[in-house]
């Protein structure tokens, strides 16, 4: 399940709802990761653009991978502005046993950072400044820059 919201995430509502959705599913482990916007470098917050068609197919591929291990992944992310100390990202894995969930949440969040088509901007004095230095080129990038 992939949920996108305009603005900050309601962390308590989402974690509680996900918990309740799977409370009777016989999963032994529920491992959430909650990303919170930190105060650093004088920013007022962060802002996000998302390209949904490819985000959806990327997420579906992960859900299939999780299903082969008997697990399920849930993810929520913000569009637009998210201010300091608010949350822009939650991912969670449910699985029968803890080891699968612990490993999957690690792999999933790392691949999310490297591959999910989401762009981050710092909010500074009311302006959006692309977080270029913290961004990662998607695997296979650069083909249009090749000599032709």
């Amino acid at each position: 399940m992939l949920e996108l919201y305009n603005g900050a995430l309601d962390v308590a509502e989402i974690l509680k709802r996900w918990y309740e959705e799977e409370a009777q599913s016989n999963y032994g482990a529920y491992i959430p990761f909650v990303g919170t916007v930190r105060s650093e470098d004088g920013i007022d917050g962060l802002s996000f653009d998302i390209y949904e068609p490819i985000l959806n197919s990327w997420f579906d591929a992960w859900q299939e991978k999780a299903a082969k291990k008997g697990a399920v992944i849930k993810m929520a992310h913000s569009r637009g502005d998210v201010m300091l100390h608010e949350s822009s990202y939650i991912a969670a894995v449910f699985s029968p046993k803890r080891r699968v969930a612990l490993e999957l949440i690690d792999e999933f969040v790392e691949d999310f950072k490297a591959s999910a088509p989401i762009w981050k901007y710092d909010l500074i004095d009311g302006k959006r400044v692309y977080a270029k230095d913290r961004s990662t080129a998607i695997q296979g990038s650069g083909i249009l820059g090749e000599k032709v």
Partner: protein, 73 residues
């Protein structure tokens, strides 16, 4: 016509081009000085599927997307 769209921080309006493969697109976009850095670090999708080769054929109605470096979370 093939539609070419520039995602995220690339500040450029979409283009409609008469092209039949990504090689032709590369040649056209490389003439735009403002795009040079983006061409070197952006991934390319055709109809929302990432591609890894310029030999990819294009047909009228296809959509090409440029995806610059990402940072979710």
């Amino acid at each position: 016509m093939v539609k070419v769209e520039f995602l995220g921080p690339i500040q450029k309006d979409a283009l409609e081009l008469e092209i039949t493969n990504l090689n032709q697109l590369a040649k056209i976009l490389q003439e735009d000085k403002e795009l040079q850095e983006w061409l070197l670090n952006s991934a390319v999708a055709v109809n929302d599927t990432l591609v890894s080769s310029l030999d990819h054929p294009l047909q009228s109605g296809d959509k090409v997307s440029l995806l610059p470096p990402v940072c979710g979370g």
